[in-house]
Symmetry: C2
């Protein structure tokens, strides 16, 4: 494998292909019309896709292509974690800025590869384009459901406990570029107890918990203000912008921790066994979302997660 | 299902979800962190991805979002055809121009849906974004290998016949926006004979046949000039630009016909049974690509297919 930069689209594809190692489940990797994979008999297949755009999810000039590659793969792996699944293979489609297309593609690959290796993901194919526009990276990840099947958003029940896998808020200070997909954490959780509902915190805890409540038939939740684990970055950001750190923990997106719903007994047992588990609240029958202060007072909590289309169009 | 336009990202997702019908193989469709699919036991899984960008693969202002949707799904289905596979499910990631995000998303969906229904593809998930940039659509299609496994690019042998499934050239006049994935044609071919190599004509016959030659270990091919089926559009384009119609048929991309390599005996039998099959040449042991004129003279043929990175950067 030479160190000279590859030339042209097919040179670049050959460069990437030379750096691809495929597991036994990959029958055909990069270089044909499709990748060919051998699914594990009896397991469900998981599919997720996420697109990142320059100026929206990252800034290429500030963050560099390696960070973009790591983020593009990481956010997809986080969706696999949110199903308690095991990632398997990824395909990567790119619109590269034409003046630096090859260097950007190599940087993306350099950012993806360590994460792919760490999480056992084969890079099995893609589509390489260049244009006058900003960098766009679209990754699709395939995974397989772990033992016991996938963990959905839809199984929460009134009285269940709500837990998260780590401290939240302030990801904008840099963590949003370095997602740590909670694959192992989800599998550990799933081994210890039935997971009634599971989601990753990409839009903010309040928003993402809201998705669980909606998908579980219109339930509600009470979050305990003093139980929310707040990340140090949320305090730093709070000092700068004056918003309470708790507000950052509840509303900021791109933490990529998991939010799980379990039976209360199970949550206690799991909390003993897995030190990263924090119970943050309780599912209730009445639709809505509330915050309970240490003095016992309960106030409604509005999710302010990012809505791409409302944010853009000003739709009410 | 109401006719009022949906509001916001989650309104749009609900609008699309209400229009999704999932087959029994889709355990969870739109609305969770991943789609969950049940693979057919024993079959190989096919994965392909293609990204289309405004100004590069289409012009939104001229072609409209429905044509873009149909093309975005169709080019991916063509890759499934090129493996002699059966398409199964698709995920769609979009960067929508913010001023018309919802209308464009609805148009894309309207263009994809009839093609998805025709080819038995479930739209199982996606990612919806809006930005200041031009429309980008990235589709990933999953399929399953047909009986007998996938047809690769790599099995051509010296002495084999080269066939195509239809007339070539001039797709720029509009056919490039309306790919007709040759799924049924590939399956019919595969049922009748072992297919040594298969590819779809997306970069141009000369280029795509070149991929087969490369992947088959460095073989060559002789194409018979008077045997190449030339599309009427290639003649029309020839009259306008002065390039020979045959040149369009050999070099134009985005025809989305298939190019297959078969044993000669099989190609004759298949040609009798399947009227759309045209034998266009022969695989030879010496690496290279040649055109044989009716008088028997043979001249080297250079593939001029589109290279995204060379075209953009001016790399030699």
């Amino acid at each position: 494998v030479a160190d000279t930069p590859p030339t042209g689209e097919f040179g670049l594809i050959a460069w990437i292909r030379a750096r691809s190692q495929a597991s036994a489940q990959v029958l055909v990797g990069i270089g044909d019309d499709c990748a060919v994979l051998r699914p594990t008999s009896g397991r469900s297949l998981l599919v997720t896709t996420d697109m990142l755009m320059d100026g929206r999810h990252f800034r290429l000039d500030r963050d560099g292509p390696e960070a973009v590659g790591a983020k593009a793969l990481g956010v997809n792996l986080s969706d696999i974690a949110a199903m308690a699944g095991e990632p398997w293979a990824a395909v990567v489609a790119t619109a590269l800025p034409k003046r630096s297309a090859v260097a950007v593609a190599q940087g993306l690959h350099a950012g993806m590869r360590p994460m792919a290796e760490r999480f056992g993901v084969d890079l099995v194919g893609g589509d390489t384009n260049a244009w006058d526009g900003p960098l766009v990276v679209s990754v699709t990840v395939l995974g397989e459901a772990g033992e016991g099947g996938p963990a959905l958003r839809s199984g929460a029940k009134a009285g269940d406990a709500i837990v998260v896998t780590g401290p939240l808020g302030g990801s904008l200070l840099g963590r949003h570029l370095r997602p740590e997909p909670r694959i192992a954490e989800a599998l550990a959780l799933r081994r210890l107890a039935p997971v009634h509902a599971l989601i990753d915190v990409s839009d903010g805890l309040a928003s993402d918990l809201g998705h669980i409540l909606d998908e579980s038939g219109g339930l509600g939740a009470v979050l305990d203000a003093d139980a929310i684990p707040i990340h140090a970055d949320a305090f730093t950001l709070s000092a700068a912008d004056g918003r309470p750190a708790l507000d950052h923990a509840l509303q900021d997106g791109e933490d990529f921790e998991l939010c799980a719903v379990l039976a209360v007994d199970d949550s206690e047992r799991v909390g003993q066994a897995l030190p990263f588990i924090h119970r943050v609240g309780t599912i209730v029958a009445a639709p809505g979302l509330w915050l309970r202060d240490p003095d016992g007072s309960v106030t409604p909590l509005t999710a302010r997660g990012f809505d791409h289309l409302r944010a853009e169009t000003g739709d009410a």
